[in-house]
Symmetry: C2
Subunit: 391 residues, 2 copies
């Protein structure tokens, strides 16, 4: 455990249906010129776009829009939107959507005060002195982008997808109303929940021992996600399920449970490569990687951690040996992802072959060094071994 860390959770989070009473006043703290960023039709269909626009216009705001943000958001779109922010002297960016829209909103907010390519900010892990404030209105709980300082951006020409983070990027305010996630499709819900689970798991499998209390929080979050993902998958309008998933999405990745532990996240790094080359849903890629990664790093030393995970999260029998419990844990994880949430279990199901695995391993090495850290350090060829297990 690192003895030194800082807990700083600056986002003010409105939970439940609180847009009408609070959006305008929160926006006007920053100014009247507002850029709304969103993806496609879904925010229109559920009525939240018109509602937000109406609330802002009633409050006397000048409202501009940038739409069409794609899953695995592109730096090029962020550059276009940032140029609009300059042109209209925008004071605040409101992202309405899931992780892709919110991540794009952060890069737009930073690119507003940056001269040069937006991709440079990401790849150089740079940040301008000043960024526009971001307000998040969440419509899909998954990435936790609503309360963290991370943006994961794709460069389509280079086939690269990279996470970039800075405290300045943390949204000032987030509106998290579970009802706004009712229309998220079962498959997308399953992908989102795999992502949330993995955010916690990546930290839980840290090589550094952290505070026990945070272990209990992580176990509680993973248990919550497993339990309610299955309910939301079957009953998309179950408020209790959507509520718990929404809360877990933020807390899995807002930095709190990670306190005192390094941020390496090998499974995410591998998945980002897959998404960069094949544009697959991030959570689905993670679901496929997770059990293979776990089997690959399972050994006499790591087994006890998997034992703890299994006992606390999957109801594995405590009397089993560490190794038997670890195996059972991975089996139950697979059952949850591939049977209960019906995610397909192989990369080949998504049309992925081994063709680019070498390039992927090289890209990870370039961005994060060799070996890649995590629960067990991985050399480049070991990354390829794991990807091969996923085929």
């Amino acid at each position: 455990m690192s003895d030194l860390f800082v807990i700083n959770l600056p986002t003010k989070v409105y939970y439940g249906d609180q847009l009408d009473n609070n959006l305008a006043s929160e926006v006007l703290r920053f100014g009247k010129n507002v850029m709304i960023v969103y993806g496609g039709q879904s925010v229109k269909r559920i009525g939240v776009l018109d509602r937000v626009r109406g609330l802002l216009e009633d409050a006397g705001c000048n409202v501009y829009e940038y739409s069409g943000i794609k899953p695995n958001p592109r730096h090029s779109q962020c550059e276009e939107a940032a140029e609009m922010c300059r042109q209209y002297n925008v004071d605040v960016v409101i992202g309405i959507g899931g992780g892709s829209v919110l991540d794009a909103s952060k890069l737009i907010a930073a690119q507003r005060y940056h001269n040069g390519s937006a991709w440079d900010l990401v790849i150089k892990r740079d940040i301008p002195d000043k960024v526009l404030p971001v307000i998040a209105i969440l419509t899909n709980a998954a990435t936790g982008s609503e309360t963290d300082g991370t943006a994961v951006i794709t460069n389509e020409e280079l086939h690269r997808k990279k996470g970039w983070k800075n405290p300045l990027l943390v949204p000032k305010v987030a509106f998290t109303d579970p009802v706004l996630t009712f229309s998220v499709k079962p498959y997308v819900t399953a992908c989102g929940c795999a992502d949330i689970f993995n955010h916690v798991l990546e930290t839980y499998l840290s090589p550094n021992k952290g505070l026990y209390m945070l272990d209990t929080f992580m176990e509680g979050m993973m248990k919550t996600v497993v339990r309610y993902s299955v309910i939301a998958y079957q009953e998309p309008e179950n408020y209790e399920a959507r509520s718990n998933i929404m809360l877990a999405s933020s807390w899995a990745i807002n930095g709190f449970v990670r306190s005192g532990r390094p941020h390496v996240w090998p499974m995410h790094q591998m998945e980002h490569e897959l998404s960069a080359f094949y544009d697959i849903p991030h959570g689905h890629g993670l679901a496929i990687i997770m059990p293979r990664y776990m089997r690959y790093v399972l050994n006499g030393e790591t087994a006890h951690r998997f034992y703890q995970l299994g006992i606390s999260v999957f109801g594995v029998e405590p009397k089993l040996s560490d190794m038997d419990a670890a195996q059972e844990t991975i089996t139950r994880l697979e059952d949850w992802l591939f049977n209960q949430l019906s995610l397909t279990s192989h990369l080949s199901d998504l049309g992925i072959t081994a063709e680019h695995f070498q390039e992927m391993a090289a890209s990870i090495k370039e961005f994060s060094g060799d070996p890649l850290g995590g629960f067990v350090p991985l050399k480049g060829n070991q990354i390829i071994d794991i990807l091969n297990m996923c085929l």
Copy 2:
């Protein structure tokens, strides 16, 4: 569950030994005139007072001191200190101590801009438009005052002790270094841990069902406190134990796990009456009240909640019936408090008789209405019944 709540955790918390590198810069955000508030000898003995003073003087601050804050802090002292803040044009209050000092620091910070008695602020649940910023340096983990907006203040003439809270009172910055709690005596550690546990329990026994994820966090915190209190009691310089207790002290009461549940806290209200009349340690009073309250409200409807508590926190056998598990849970709670932490188990051990129980029940009724809410609503005579069980 209330569908609407706001999560707002504005305190920046430095964890571990980070005073040297960060205190001065955090103070200078607010100004150069600093009032240090503390209790007695302990902050001198462990060297933190001189260290803080040195850091501030090196940074060019003008440092004033108000010392002698007593456990169960008095409004009268806060008035004196606030008058000094006016006189010296103080910009920021630094409380060095445990809950009493931090609670007093908050009232000082508010009283600085208030005309009239400081007790009025508490009893009228009032707040001036402006308060001084408070920085907390924690030397005893218990009340969680370092990250919440609550101050519990005693009026010695009136024999009243009341909690008062407002978002403006939340400390801006907190320094939480487990090493600064190494010298906390075993008895005080036991009292503090009983207090932390009870903060969680009061919320866990809310009549409203809240988010499941928050239940898992509460169970994790209670498990953490039970586990590490016993270690810290035996090994006061165990860093891992002090760390976990310190983190739990903040998170038990910073408002997060309470999201969507009402704040009634009947056990605290009863204990505040005891402390107001007899000046006993708050945590010790709570330890005595807790199992009696639980036995009193245990019935066919409430038993399942105690079952969940017992299974998750005390390792009670899940195959027991709700009622049997509930009884076993209370027995194990008593074993923890009265055997493992060696707290005496009766009010009579602390010199308390039934003499003032009528007045205490009347004071609770006046402040919080009749019946008193909570897991099971309590009429005034029922409060007296529970106090009698504690004798």
